[in-house]
């Protein structure tokens, strides 16, 4: 019986020739990740309780991304505590206020195909974009990994999501993920692995694959994984073959279920509050006025997202405040280099510091009572971006940009 890519990664990490769904194993972790919210402030004490020694600083990544730039004294103290701890441990992979952890892992090629990656954040799954098995845990469990280098895993059943045809130019990876959520709902993959495949996936760039991997957590999944093909295989294939890490599932791999999706008739989509899976066509919501538009977060603030927004905003102006928070400073630099930034600024966009900010409900653009926002962030649960009565509509950067221009929810095809 063949194994899926997720099963092969677990087998290798556990030092076994094979594993099957529901097996429990102890596995050697290749990379452990945390940020200023889940990191030192929450784990330093546990690490001391467990003897105080880190298993391998080379395999630990820490980013300050939640509370920077600090909005108040409490934030400033968390940032300072994080920085002090990172220095005292001489961490080689410490990213201080330059972007969101998940995006940094991909940008710096710290996440590689076939790795087992664990992070103290639910969106750790984003690293599945390169074909890694990336899972989120809580802070205390991460602390035990930082000391032992190991974690326990129950082998998940794998669900294969296949996009069979070619994606129309007005659809983004976010629309692809919302198509899945619309059909299969927000809890279809609890405790499971979600693997993506098919011609429309093979054609995606790394930023787009990151969207699919990221949104697996909103499906309830343990991990989302995009097996390395196309540009990702070109970039990482040779090195992965040298290390012996798996790059693909076995030909006879057994999936719990395979879901096929066709994209030809899918319109641009919007997830309406309060659920990520209440998904409808943007065109059906054209009577809904918005107060603000926000482009940012680990899933919606990449260089690709900013370029997509600029496609729509070129030569046009936003009618409502349009905030753009690049996921990392590298994304901002790229947007400057390729002219994207000028287009956004000319359209009236406000550029913010890189980081999690408003997506995590922390700072830099929180929503007030009943304020209505269309945005590329990760989630729309009430209170996610501020007040519990604020309304968060999730959409692709194309749809967010189009809506910013008109001041109401708008199908981006009006401007393409």
């Amino acid at each position: 019986m063949g194994m899926t890519l997720t099963e092969k990664i677990i087998a290798r990490a556990a030092g076994r020739s094979s594993v099957r769904p529901d097996d429990e194993v102890w596995a050697a972790v290749d990379l452990a990740a945390m940020h200023d919210s889940s990191g030192p402030r929450r784990i330093a004490g546990t690490i001391e309780e467990l003897g105080g020694r880190l298993w391998d600083p080379e395999k630990i990544v820490l980013a300050i991304d939640h509370f920077a730039p600090a909005a108040n004294q409490r934030h400033a103290e968390i940032v300072a505590l994080t920085r002090t701890w990172a220095r005292s441990r001489a961490l080689p992979h410490f990213y201080d206020s330059v972007g969101i952890l998940h995006n940094v892992l991909l940008e710096k090629a710290l996440a590689r195909p076939g790795m087992l990656i664990v992070g103290a954040d639910s969106h750790t799954v984003t690293a599945g974009a390169v074909g890694a098995l990336a899972v989120g845990v809580g802070a205390t469990e991460l602390a035990t990994v930082l000391v032992t280098g190991q974690m326990w895993l129950r082998v998940p059943r794998t669900v294969l999501i296949r996009f069979r045809d070619v994606r129309p130019g007005f659809l983004t990876a976010r629309d692809m993920a919302m198509t899945v959520l619309r059909e299969l709902r927000a809890d279809f993959a609890i405790y499971k692995a979600v693997e993506y495949g098919g011609p429309a996936v093979d054609a995606l760039d790394l930023d787009e694959r990151a969207v699919l991997a990221n949104q697996a957590i909103e499906m309830g999944a343990k991990n989302g994984i995009v097996p390395p093909t196309g540009v990702v295989l070109e970039q990482f294939g040779p090195e992965a073959r040298d290390t012996g890490r798996p790059l693909a599932g076995d030909p006879g791999a057994s999936y719990e279920v395979v879901h096929d999706f066709a994209l030809a008739d899918v319109p641009p989509l919007v997830a309406t509050p309060p659920n990520v899976d209440d998904v409808v066509a943007a065109g059906e919501l054209s009577g809904i006025d918005i107060d603000r538009a926000y482009i940012g977060s680990c899933v919606g603030g990449t260089a690709r997202d900013l370029r997509e927004a600029a496609r729509i905003l070129q030569g046009r102006a936003a009618r409502v405040p349009l905030q753009v928070a690049p996921a990392t400073s590298h994304v901002l630099a790229e947007a400057l280099r390729d002219g994207t930034l000028q287009v956004l600024l000319d359209a009236g966009a406000i550029i913010q510091a890189p980081g999690c900010g408003a997506c995590a409900g922390l700072h830099s653009g929180l929503l007030g009572p009943k304020e209505r926002c269309i945005t590329t962030v990760t989630r729309n649960v009430p209170g996610r971006m501020g007040h519990a009565t604020a309304e968060i509509y999730l959409a692709s950067p194309l749809t967010v940009a189009a809506s910013a221009i008109t001041g109401r929810i708008t199908d981006p095809r009006e401007f393409l």
């Binding site: 429990e24 639910s122 809580g138 809890d187 609890i190 309830g220 995590a360 409900g361 649960v381 209170g383």
Partner: protein, 165 residues
């Protein structure tokens, strides 16, 4: 493993950790988060819940963010256990890692707000003392059971490290 008795606080499906402990309280020290338990759904919950009470919810309780403070907040507020039809996996893992009972039963809809409940973790059964109905708890398996029995993942890990020498 012990028996708990308390009242049921009933919530629906897909209760997110963003609602159990909203992001605006993430900058608080862990010792204070209990004041904000369930604040995203019911700001008065932390004041009104009595030690030993239960949260009873539908599917996917604790979905979303990995924030461990969501589990800690419920523990600090005095919640004895969460009973749900299913859990978000990170919340479930965090609960076990902190020695906090998170139990799965199939028929959560049969429990009404305010029902007196008895949870017997040894016999793995939940009893609704109003209706007299009993509900078997889905079993934990292997390693997760060992971690819960050890009282959480820190104690469990310390024992593993000592065994390794």
């Amino acid at each position: 493993m012990r028996t708990y008795e308390g009242r049921a606080w009933v919530f629906g499906d897909h209760v997110s950790t963003d609602q159990i402990l909203p992001g605006k309280f993430l900058d608080r020290p862990m010792a204070e988060v209990g004041h904000y338990a369930m604040a995203g759904l019911d700001e008065g919950f932390a004041r009104r819940v009595r030690p030993g009470d239960f949260i009873v919810a539908g599917a996917n309780f604790g979905c979303g963010s990995s924030r461990e403070a969501a589990v800690i907040a419920l523990q600090q507020a005095g919640v004895a256990a969460v009973i749900a039809r299913s859990f978000g996996r990170i919340f479930f893992r965090n609960a076990i890692n902190n020695g906090f009972p998170a139990a799965v039963i199939a028929q959560t809809a049969r429990i009404a707000p305010g029902d007196p409940l008895r949870l017997n973790l040894e016999a793995r059964v939940l009893t609704d003392l109003r209706s007299g109905e009993t509900f078997p708890l889905q079993s934990l398996t292997g390693i997760s059971q060992q971690i819960l029995e050890a009282g959480g993942i820190v104690r469990f890990t310390r024992a593993r490290l000592e065994a390794r020498g």
